[in-house]
């Protein structure tokens, strides 16, 4: 219960920070904190697989995409061109955050293992991880995803493919809806006219 309210405070504060941050990079950092806290909240709601998915997809993929776009758009802007000068200042908090993270990980590992084995027989909610009859476990989720809800899962593949094709068409090097042959014809005609003009003079 205290855990919920602590997580709720972190969630709301990081959401406000995301919206109110002056620079997009700070927003990304705040959003990373938000997603981590949300994954922890998912674990308390017995959605283990979704917590891991949240970390991998959001923190691992989407936020890195945001960072790449920010780096792309602000290359050449003075504040970002300074770059490495800020690194020594950031090293201390970053190292501290890594240490805290490892400490939490070790603490969780030390405490979680005996609990999981001790309560594995106490019902359908608090069982050992990986059993199919435990609500929200990976096995439970996978069984539902590949049997009852197979069609939505297949549609997901279509959605992702459409997104990939759309992004390549939008941001790719070649402008999509201009015919290549027409372009080359235009270039050749211009070259021919230039040669004719030179010859005329």
């Amino acid at each position: 219960m205290i855990g919920f309210f602590a997580l709720a405070i972190v969630l709301i504060a990081s959401a406000v920070w995301t919206v109110a941050a002056r620079k997009p990079v700070y927003s990304v950092v705040a959003l990373l904190l938000h997603f981590a806290a949300l994954a922890a909240l998912y674990v308390t709601l017995n959605a283990e697989f979704l917590a891991v998915t949240q970390i991998i997809v959001y923190s691992g993929a989407i936020l890195v995409l945001f960072l790449f776009v920010i780096a792309l758009l602000s290359s050449g802007v003075a504040a970002f061109a300074q770059g490495p000068d800020r690194l020594p200042k950031a090293a201390i908090p970053a190292g501290f955050a890594v240490l805290v993270g490892f400490g939490l990980l070790a603490f969780g590992l030390a405490n979680a293992t005996p609990q999981a084995t001790a309560t594995s027989n106490s019902g359908s909610l608090h069982g050992a991880a990986g059993l199919a009859n435990v609500f929200g476990s990976v096995a439970d989720f996978g069984k539902a995803l590949f049997t009852t809800h197979l069609l939505p899962f297949e549609i997901t593949a279509l959605i992702l493919m459409v997104a990939v094709i759309g992004v390549v068409l939008l941001a790719g090097d070649v402008t999509p809806f201009v015919s290549r042959t027409a372009d080359t014809k235009r270039v050749k005609r211009e070259m021919r006219e230039a040669i004719l003009k030179e010859g005329g003079e």
């Binding site: 219960m1 855990g3 919920f4 309210f5 709720a8 969630l11 709301i12 959401a15 406000v16 995301t18 919206v19 941050a21 997009p24 927003s27 990304v28 959003l31 938000h34 997603f35 949300l38 909240l41 998912y42 308390t44 709601l45 017995n46 959605a47 697989f49 979704l50 998915t53 949240q54 997809v57 959001y58 993929a61 989407i62 995409l65 945001f66 776009v69 920010i70 792309l72 758009l73 909610l125 609500f135 929200g136 439970d140 989720f141 539902a144 995803l145 009852t148 809800h149 939505p152 899962f153 997901t156 959605i159 992702l160 459409v162 997104a163 990939v164 759309g166 992004v167 939008l170 941001a171």
Partner: protein
């Protein structure tokens, strides 16, 4: 329906989700940087996901987890396409401000 198994009351989860959702709405309404607007949309996706997972837990039904999974997938696709649009607009206009992009306006 057994509400007593939740760590806290159901209303607390709904309230938290609503607060996060409307922080995202405020971000879309108030900010002009398209990247921050996209991040606000991500906040709103996640507020909805939190409700899906909460009610999946309340009813002990897996369908909420499946739907949240699909929402994460669609959010990833949306973020990719939105960022591609931002890159294209920036490449053409050299200006990242959603109020200045008026090409599609009538």
């Amino acid at each position: 329906m057994d509400l007593t198994v939740l760590p806290v009351a159901l209303g607390d989860y709904i309230g938290l989700s609503l607060v996060i959702f409307f922080i995202g709405v405020a971000g879309i309404a108030l900010r002009r940087n398209p990247l921050i607007v996209l991040m606000s949309i991500e906040l709103m996706w996640n507020a909805a996901n939190l409700l899906f997972i909460t009610f999946a837990r309340v009813y002990m039904n897996n369908a909420g987890h499946i739907f949240a999974f699909l929402v994460i997938t669609v959010a990833a696709a949306e973020a990719a396409i939105g960022l591609a649009i931002v890159v294209v607009v920036f490449r053409n206009a050299k200006n990242v401000d959603v109020d200045d992009v008026r090409i599609l306006r009538g």
